[in-house]
Symmetry: D4
Subunit: 248 residues, 8 copies
């Protein structure tokens, strides 16, 4: 990790083996990484509490188990999203401490249980079909060291269920809202609260929902100013952004 | 309006001037309208309380004044939508009793003030920019003989304003909801009420609202089952449908 | 269902155990539901003749049977849409009185056979492929207590079939029209009648039908003013809206 | 126009000045046009009754007058589409026999009045706003030597107006149908007749008509098998195709 | 088929049993079909050489065989499009004279072999993957009594193959052009010929072809004026339109 | 603001003028707002440092001046976005302390200059054309009491300019990134930093940028997990969200 | 390949058996190909180092093996893209020297190993999921006789990995960049280099990536001027274009 | 331009004033640019023959004149695209040697007239309306030091005009093809030639051309493998890419 080649350049200059001009010229031809910028890339693993993440979709159980085992050897927490039970079965054999979060379709290896988040990350979802996405957000926030709370099945067509739970929501420092179909929930939640709201459109719906496009457009046009949006079904991204906010 | 030519056919048969066979043959070649189907087309004017309607956009003041004056001669109420003040000025000269409904951008000639609707048609709008569309719906319902009530600026990001007025809404027999941007309001209103809700997406918004497409898709995917939708900015259509429902 | 906690507050004030000021302050912290707004949510089941509804797609037979049995214990009618025969088989075992409406792909438990609708709900469809959606609308209207009538396979390219049945349609108080491909039928039906028309675009078609988008756009732009639209393939929504209208 | 250079090649071979082999080799290097394929391009002007056509949009009056005058010198009929009155004023000065067809927004110079079409080309339009496109189709068919007939304002929401004129339509050999909004008219007309129907979507409408896209998609999905479609607002193309068909 | 009830009306009037006024009144309540408009619908089967058509997609072999056998009993030619070999096997058992046109995925029963078309219908396709659509067009034209000719695999990226066959194409009275991907072929063919060209976009391609949308848009914007377009993959429609044209 | 009517209810109960049961019953019919939920709506103005906001587009100078003056009377900061110089001139006359932020097209009245944000909000933009949106974000963050810093014209095609300023960016607690065209900048910035990134697609570009859609889609699909997105050109929303985050 | 029929024409003229006029006339009716234009089409195989190419998708193993064997008999290199292992197994039996390039999903028969490219073609990809497309580009460039180099998994969210390899990229004469999701990589690479960059959007991603549309639009709007784009997932096309450039 | 601060670091080490370890540590905190990467950004101006470029759209004449004059002081060629005559008038006053290329809507200052391109860049356009885009490409290629040739108005509907000029095209080393409407020309040109083809979709067309989208999609799906595509109307980008290729 240390830029040994650079140090050697300076050493040679100190020893008079190399003129400053030649040193500058050589410096220019060193690989970029040696210049110390490598740390840019590794901030993910170096920074405490940020898990390594595997995207499970399309991977064979064997392949998943290999990747998971390799990353597990790095230490820290580990999260695999969009996984299937057969992938977990394979992972379990090589990494026995891995757990399966079924609703979230996530494989989790949690070794660092320190709380990095300063408050609560709340996850709200409109309908029961949105739960897999909501749970992915929830698990991500948990693995990244947050206290989490969830409030599911509070769609806008039954607004009182949401309002009945307003008190719970006001305790959160940042709120994730998952909704498909018309994607209206983040606007309502955003209007009730004074904290940042991360909206996740889901592909739940049919016909003119166009696989989440309707919800996405709805959320982009939210009349609540405290709403920002991540990709359709991207529970992980929402959990990640919320975790970063909750550490501030 | 009477099918004189058909009657004449029968008369000729009665007088023996025409055989039944020849009459059948001639009947087939009569213009369709004479067969009595004309009434299909004229049900609009014949049925009480349905106004004749002019679409104002793109018409010169002179042209508008001519059409308006001609239709005014038919009797009954008269409604011109999407009009401009200069069009009204021209209309006013030939039809002095015409009124201008500025917010609705509508010219109205109201002679028949009978109530055809059995209850209240309520018009709800999300933001102040939606008011022109909401007012077009309101004026249409009025001209078609309904008691109307409006509730404006009750967008979902300030849900309590809507809830505070829940009582008023529950008095309506049919509700029209106009909203741009994310178009979420019809779902919330639909969830609060047990009556038909006509949703009108408006072109209010910018960027990813795509001139009302976001609101349209949102409303098509409403999680409230009592919502049906008309075209973007089609306040007239919503008022028309609501009026038909309110007559039942 | 009664707001016992509120009553208790008042009782304490009456008994002098609590000052009005303290009572106001406590009132603010009571759960929302206790304030009596819970009834908002329950209007569905409380109002006579509105069935509970399950969306069948993606559910396992076992899961469907469990949900169905649980809801059946609430009393009233029960409707499961977008179901498959294997789901019905499972339901049948726990709820023997459930029936399968094959064309509509619906499971129905009908215990309340009272007529809530005042007139006839007519369901019209353009082609034979639109029948599943049309039947879903029909079954919904039936379960919600309406006299129903249907008129299938009367697409606009054979306009006389529709016209031949004009008389039957004019008896309806509200009409549902299901059409895929170019989605033109609601405009023609709307032009023939003076009652509200609920249009249902279907995903029937190929190529440039884009899974119902062509029909949806066509219906949104209907030149008949008495047409409003629900989501693609949303027969249930159309039946629901029509039933609410028919009760007025 | 004759392939003089080729003839010369053969002449040289005949006179023994060139061997066959050298002639073949030279032939290969002759410009393509000399090989007689030029006629491909010129079939337009060579074939009787096909006018030269200018697209007027975006041209200055002066530019339009120049082009028109130059083409007028070729003989035959001449058609400028999408023109404005100021363009016509300029054209009129250099080509006094030019006429302005105001509804069609077309400038016409008609010298060849022979009938090339064997029957009637009928032009049908749904609403009054579709008339400019319909007239462009009509003028095109006239200039190309057809007997034409028109039937305007027969939209599907007032189906009887169309049916009343069925007899007139059945006299046509080919029918052009122009419609905006939901674009349903071609399907109905196509279903009534046994001849080819050319459908022209127009940009008439607002909101979800998306400048003619709704009508275009509707027509592409027509359930009448005798319908084919041209571009939005392309009255000229429809008139052109219909004219070619009517010559057969 | 005869309007017996109408004749009887006239007979009663002739015999003085009914006054002309009462007859007119009764006439209005007769079913539409009795008025002689029924023939509108039946023009398809009555007109010689127009086959009855079944759309095969999604039908079980048994269902297909039943429909096919029933229609076969009407006489005339019979065409089933988008069929599979297992459907044909079932059809073959009940209608032994049915043939399978494998490339076209069509089942054909051809009893009327009269030529109704006056010239040749040519079918051109861009790539080998477009052949199923092209063959559907070809078979349709054949079954409708046309001399057909085909020219396949003459895409625009190898323009000389098309040009080499120009002579053959010029013999056709109407030309069908099938192309996927960029859909450019109809423009080139249209430019070479002076006859109507029916363009069929196909769903051949990947990525930005968006299942035929790219080809469809390309063809709608063809710079050749003699091109009109049918739906994506709609070989049948193209064959049908071309056949109608070729009869003129 | 105090729920006087509720207090009165309790007082009446205390005085024995009203039974608890009757009080509960009356409570249910009180306007919603009296129940104390009004504070939900007013959290915006009540919470320190949140300005009132006017959307300037489409307002006449007079109208803008009236609204601005009225809101100015409420105290606190005031922000008008998407304004024009003529609107500012009118505002200036009634609210002399208002300032015009030309690049941001914003009118600002800043009375509360307290710092509510705990760190720096950085605003990054890709090209010079994105500056108006970036400045709107910047002004919003300033008016909401944040230390701000900007870094403009650091588009991804000249990546070194961004990298040269990496140090400055790492000082920020939350970063706003505005970019049009391909919208790639948020991904690169997100990859460099470990804090939340708010991405704002701008409508800068032409052709296939489709008024910001390309940038919007790009940002939704960002491969950097710390990115969330607001509407096209919504600098205000980004500044608002960033300010809420910076207060945490 | 020789235009024997033309030569014979000249011979007949030379021998006086045919007049030059008649020869010209006959020439016009010769098949196009005889005129020597056939070479246009065959430039592909005639030009050294351009392989024949088979598109594997949808072909049965048997069919693939037949085509492959037939083309193999022509000599030169041979490439089958989008193939599956079972197709390769079949090919291997008839063409034992064929190799399977698994990552690229390509079957290759390489007989001509001459270098036609003058420099290096570099292939860069953003994520590991883009590798199949990148490898297809790489294999294409190899089979067309280029030195190739690849640089994978250098997405913009970890920009230093790309920068660390800048030196390697600057050695390339033309660079292919494959990226899904937001498709930002070509802009960054384009900004770093002064050579042509061929961008390949991939269908990698989910939700708002819309199967590569987001990446495609992003690349079309690249702010780097040296970027041009091919179809989604079209690694072959990119390799082909790059190879043509590298030969210059 | 020299990394003076780095040299000074080495000098201090040489003089023993700084230990190698401290030097490494300081190096890390130096601004990025000092590390010599600045040259990355400046490659544009440093590399011979690459002009500086201004995008004229939306700039006032005064602003344009200022920018142009400032850039002119840098030496080298200068190009302003999408300019208007009034902008040129202002530029002309401060930079008298600037020329206006009217068809290309470009202002050019050409001081370096050296040829950097090794062969001919040919620019082909489909219709006369495409010429502004084609000329922008042509001027760009000229200013970048290429021999250029153009071939306009050779659309695919008159294919012989293109074929007649095949010889001229085969002389080009790289070809730019501009086309609107169906965008088919690049496929045809690509099929005729063995060199790279840069396709430019133009916004020429109406209706279903959707401002160039149809042409863009067509070109992305080109069946000619040597075609790559730039943004709609991006003549500059095409000229730039072609120039880079022509230097190789």
């Amino acid at each position: 990790m240390t830029a040994e080649s650079i140090r050697r350049l300076f050493e040679q200059v100190r020893q008079g083996k190399l003129s400053p001009d030649d040193a500058v010229s050589r410096l220019r031809h060193l690989p970029f990484e040696d210049l110390g910028f490598a740390k840019v890339d590794h901030h993910r693993v170096l920074r405490v509490g940020i898990p390594e993440v595997v995207f499970g979709e399309g991977k064979t159980p064997t392949h998943m188990a290999q990747i998971f085992a390799r990353l597990a050897s790095h230490g820290g927490n580990l999260l695999a999203t969009r996984t299937r039970p057969d992938q977990f079965a394979a992972v379990k054999q090589t990494v026995p401490k891995a757990e399966y979060r079924e609703l979230a379709r996530a494989i989790v290896l949690r070794r660092d249980r320190k709380k990095y988040g300063k408050g609560i990350v709340a996850v709200v979802s409109a309908g029961t079909s949105d739960i897999p996405v909501a749970e992915e957000a929830l698990v991500t926030a948990e693995v990244m060291g947050n206290d989490v709370e969830h409030l599911y099945d509070v769609g806008v067509a039954g607004i009182h269920r949401l309002l009945s739970n307003r008190e719970r929501l006001t305790r959160a420092r940042v709120v994730i809202v998952c909704a498909g179909m018309e994607g209206a929930l983040p606007s309502v939640v955003g209007g009730l609260l004074g904290v940042p709201v991360i909206a996740v459109p889901t592909s739940v719906g049919y016909g003119a929902s166009f696989k989440g496009l309707a919800a996405l457009l709805g959320m982009m046009n939210s009349c609540a100013s405290n709403v920002s949006v991540v990709n359709i079904d991207n529970g992980f991204g929402a959990g990640y952004v919320a975790s970063l906010i909750n550490r501030l």
